[in-house]
């Protein structure tokens, strides 16, 4: 959904959701990061959690006067300086298709492209980590070529393994642990994304860059 102005909506009494206007861009994401930093400093805010060109604000206590925090969000959105993209660069070796890519065929059907074309398009860009979410250590990546965009599945799959490389709508990401997923899994990687014994426990941070390296293509 593309809107002209930012949209603020409720997530019950637990949180607010701020949705940035326009298409999903890295430039907007840089402003979202800056907005998250500012909002996270407010005493009534428990956590400011970036998503894909959006921001969730969880409350310490839901305020009676909602408009104060809503006004602050809109105000900061217009005034905040976007944070620069600053991070490390990682190469993720991926085996595309085969057992680790059970939904490659669905992406082929939807896009009308061959496996090799899909692999080439998926592994070409340098992706930016926009945000973490979904499950511990999972990264939402920006920069996927829209030619391989494939809608989320009608019925989510109950168990997708750790390291599953998937496409959901116009986004791509890698599972950091086994669990259910509504995305289309096209490959797999062995990298460990989250270790609670590490400090910080997550491998990636927003602003880091990722490249998918083609280890193997199983047709």
């Amino acid at each position: 959904m593309i809107s002209e102005r930012p949209r603020i909506s409720l997530l019950g009494t637990t949180a607010l959701l701020f949705d940035a206007p326009g298409e999903t861009t890295l430039e907007t994401q840089c402003r979202i990061w800056a907005l998250a930093n500012e909002m996270g400093r407010l005493p009534g805010v428990q956590e400011a959690v970036p998503g894909m060109n959006n921001l969730m604000i969880t409350f310490v206590e839901p305020p009676r006067r909602l408009h104060e925090i809503q006004d602050r969000l809109v105000e900061l959105w217009t005034s905040v300086e976007p944070l620069p993209v600053q991070g490390r660069c990682f190469d993720l070796p991926v085996t595309y298709g085969g057992e680790g890519g059970p939904h490659m065929a669905d992406v082929v059907t939807h896009t009308g492209m061959s496996v090799d074309e899909i692999v080439a398009i998926h592994s070409a860009p340098i992706y930016t980590v926009y945000a973490l979410g979904s499950h511990p250590g999972y990264c939402y990546l920006g920069g996927m070529d829209l030619r391989i965009a494939t809608p989320r599945r009608q019925i989510p799959v109950l168990r997708i393994p750790c390291g599953a490389v998937s496409i959901g709508g116009d986004q791509t990401g890698v599972s950091a642990s086994e669990g259910p997923s509504g995305w289309n899994t096209i490959g797999s990687t062995d990298v460990v994304f989250f270790d609670v014994a590490r400090t910080p426990p997550a491998l990636f941070r927003p602003g880091d860059r990722v490249r998918f390296k083609v280890e193997r293509v199983v047709r």
Partner: protein
């Protein structure tokens, strides 16, 4: 320590949740009925956030290695100490070697499905990212990041606590009823995509009962009922979500995200169950029905204040009773 003699699936150590790590993709987890956990802790003069064991499947049996004061709240599961029936929602003393048995909850004047075993001092597992709740997806926290099974030994603090025994609390489920046309209900605030659904979908959401299917658990409750249809197909960007969010995937059957839900998602959201009523959902049995009642922001906050008042009152009266030389078994 307490030794698990038998456990059904998904008995986990939980406190009130792990906040502050959403930025790592770590969801809150925590008790599905936070009111019952808090009440059990209040009975034992623990911090409300002390960890207990959440038991959704029965029977469940543990042996106390030494004399322990404990309480079983949540669903009335006919608790027995050795062969003797004991009271639910009651501060109870167990002697070393005694066995606590919990059975399948029977239909009572308040429907509930999960029980909470609280211990004086709280379950003594390490804090991970600030909480003792079990993070099932990430396999950390609680007891080794997984559900309990037979043979597990769960650590509890040493003796010398201020807990007393021989008194109880009335379950809030009996005194804070909320129903619509005789069906247990929860209050809901419309979410961002509410307006994108058809008027018939709105009617169905508010006026029809929703059945909690067997494919429901701590991650989410899959509901069965009328089909909810957006006016046109929606494809959203991934965004943060919280427990209570009612998502509507392509099939048109809603899923309420619960305590172990992913902290972000991309399905359309028609509404969110308010925080004040999440404990009611947490106790709703598989196969039961629930109604959604639309409320205003102020009504939602009023409901939250009501649950907070119940907790504060329970704490005040328990402390008064215990400090005036309250009864001991």
């Amino acid at each position: 320590m307490i030794e698990v003699l038998s456990a059904g699936a998904l008995a986990t150590v939980q406190d009130l949740g792990r906040t502050g790590s959403l930025n790592l993709g770590v969801g809150w987890s925590g008790a599905m009925d936070p009111l019952a956990l808090a009440a059990g802790n209040i009975l034992l003069r623990n911090d409300e956030n002390a960890a207990g064991i959440e038991i959704p499947v029965f029977p469940f049996r543990v042996r106390f290695a030494r004399s322990t004061v404990f309480a079983v709240t949540g669903a009335d599961c006919a608790p027995r100490l050795d062969d003797r029936p004991i009271l639910p929602w009651w501060a109870q003393c167990a002697e070393a070697g005694q066995v606590l048995s919990l059975a399948v909850p029977k239909k009572a004047n308040w429907q509930a499905s999960r029980a909470y075993l609280c211990i004086a001092g709280g379950i003594d597992v390490p804090l991970v990212l600030g909480s003792r709740s079990t993070q099932l997806r990430g396999a950390f926290g609680g007891h080794q990041g997984r559900p309990l099974h037979e043979g597990d030994v769960v650590p509890i603090p040493g003796p010398g606590r201020q807990a007393r025994s021989g008194f109880g609390l009335i379950p809030p489920g009996l005194v804070l009823p909320f129903e619509a046309d005789g069906v247990p209900a929860v209050r809901v605030l419309p979410a961002a995509e509410y307006e994108c659904f058809t008027p018939a979908s709105h009617d169905a959401l508010w006026s029809t009962p929703w059945k909690i299917t067997p494919q429901s658990n701590r991650y989410g409750y899959r509901l069965a009922g009328s089909e909810l249809k957006p006016v046109r197909p929606l494809e959203l960007r991934s965004h943060g979500i919280v427990p209570g969010v009612i998502q509507v995937p392509h099939g048109g059957q809603p899923i309420i995200q619960m305590r172990d839900a992913q902290p972000s998602g991309g399905y359309p959201k028609i509404g969110t169950v308010v925080e004040a009523d999440l404990w009611r959902l947490g106790q709703a049995p598989i196969g039961s029905h629930v109604r959604f009642v639309r409320c205003s922001w102020d009504q939602a906050l009023d409901a939250l204040a009501e649950t907070r008042r119940w907790v504060a009152n329970a704490r005040r009266l328990v402390e008064l009773h215990c400090s005036h030389g309250g009864s001991d078994d």
